[in-house]
């Protein structure tokens, strides 16, 4: 049995400047410093995650804090007058609307 061997095709001109190993696939999700691995988020990136469903739950520890803030003698503040509720504007359907179905 003779086996035919072939050289694995390899491009001899390996010059891939298009690969940047310091960025993650699909962009710089996690920025890194040149020689290091510092995880950096600029202002806009942080704000982008502000409304994620994972960013909303109030941690129970904060409830304790707000309680502690309230329990101590509060600084005298001028009582705020209740703002007059906006006058409800009666919205009666106009005749036109009511009989539009015809």
């Amino acid at each position: 049995m003779s086996s035919t061997t072939k050289a694995i095709p390899v491009s001899l001109k390996i010059d891939r400047n298009d690969i940047n190993f310091s960025t993650s696939v699909g962009g710089t999700l996690y920025g890194t410093t040149p020689g290091g691995t510092k995880i950096v988020y600029d202002r806009n990136t942080l704000l982008q995650y502000r409304n994620s469903p994972l960013s909303k739950t109030p941690p129970p520890e904060l409830a304790h804090l707000t309680e502690a803030m309230r329990s101590k003698k509060p600084i005298a503040s001028t009582p705020t007058k209740p703002v007059n509720p906006p006058q409800p504007t009666p919205t009666k359907p106009t005749d036109e609307e009511m009989f539009q179905m015809e």
């Binding site: 995880i39 942080l46 502000r50 469903p53 109030p58 520890e61 904060l62 804090l65 003698k73």
Partner: protein, 226 residues
């Protein structure tokens, strides 16, 4: 044959109205579940927590009277620690605004292993940049911007940052950034300049080593200004 059997099976329960109703409900539930699942899939990208470089702890303290060294430590309490962008927002989306802090209270946001005290090893040779909050209407935003710069590690020498403090005081609110090495002029000044950029202020700000503040808090002289 098989198909006939299936048909029979399907047809049989329909004779009883109750069964039909149950079957329909189940089908509806399943559809809803499937919808939910597909929604979750589309949100998958948002449901990954993004890690921060450091773990950060939020501390709170309140002094009704004159502040002295002993009672200050008693009132200082660690509130919470977080280490991801999402958990950071869980805290800061729900934390009472600094504009609502009563006079005499402070927030301290420090790297988890550093206590917000002068005596702590990481602070002993350090100091702080102090920014007076001139315009109270901007304080919430200025505090948030500077906090984001800390947890996002956008300071060039962010490893030199220990933490950031907001003081609500009768004499005027202050934002202070605490750093590790007061003697390193370049690193310290770079942090000060960047802080001004973040806070969008032009006024000169000053840096005081903690050592000087300990000796005399009133007449402490600043070491640098930018």
């Amino acid at each position: 044959m098989t198909s006939k059997n299936e048909v029979e099976c399907l047809v049989e329960p329909t004779s009883s109205e109750e069964t039909t109703t149950t079957t329909t409900t189940t089908t509806n539930n399943e559809t809803e579940q499937q919808q939910e699942q597909s929604e979750e899939h589309s949100l998958d990208q948002n449901l990954i927590k993004h890690p921060l470089q450091n773990r950060w702890s939020l501390w709170y303290d309140y002094q009704s009277g004159k502040i002295n060294q002993e009672n200050w430590v008693d009132s200082l309490k660690k509130v919470i620690t977080f280490d991801s962008v999402e958990d950071f927002w869980c805290v800061f989306n729900n934390l009472p605004n600094v504009s609502n802090l009563k006079q005499g209270s402070s927030y301290h946001l420090f790297k988890e292993d550093i206590e917000p005290k002068w005596e702590h090893e990481s602070n002993r040779k350090g100091g702080k940049w102090v920014v007076m909050v001139k315009d109270k209407s901007r304080c919430d935003n200025q505090w948030l911007q500077s906090v984001m710069a800390c947890v996002g590690e956008t300071f060039d020498s962010s490893e030199d940052i220990c933490g950031i403090v907001y003081n609500s005081r009768k004499s005027g609110d202050k934002i202070s950034v605490w750093t590790k090495t007061a003697y390193d002029e370049k690193v310290t000044k770079d942090i000060g300049s960047y802080l001004k950029k973040v806070l969008e202020i032009d006024a000169t700000i000053t840096y005081t080593p903690h050592q000087d503040s300990i000796r005399s808090s009133k007449s402490a002289k600043y070491l640098y200004d930018v």
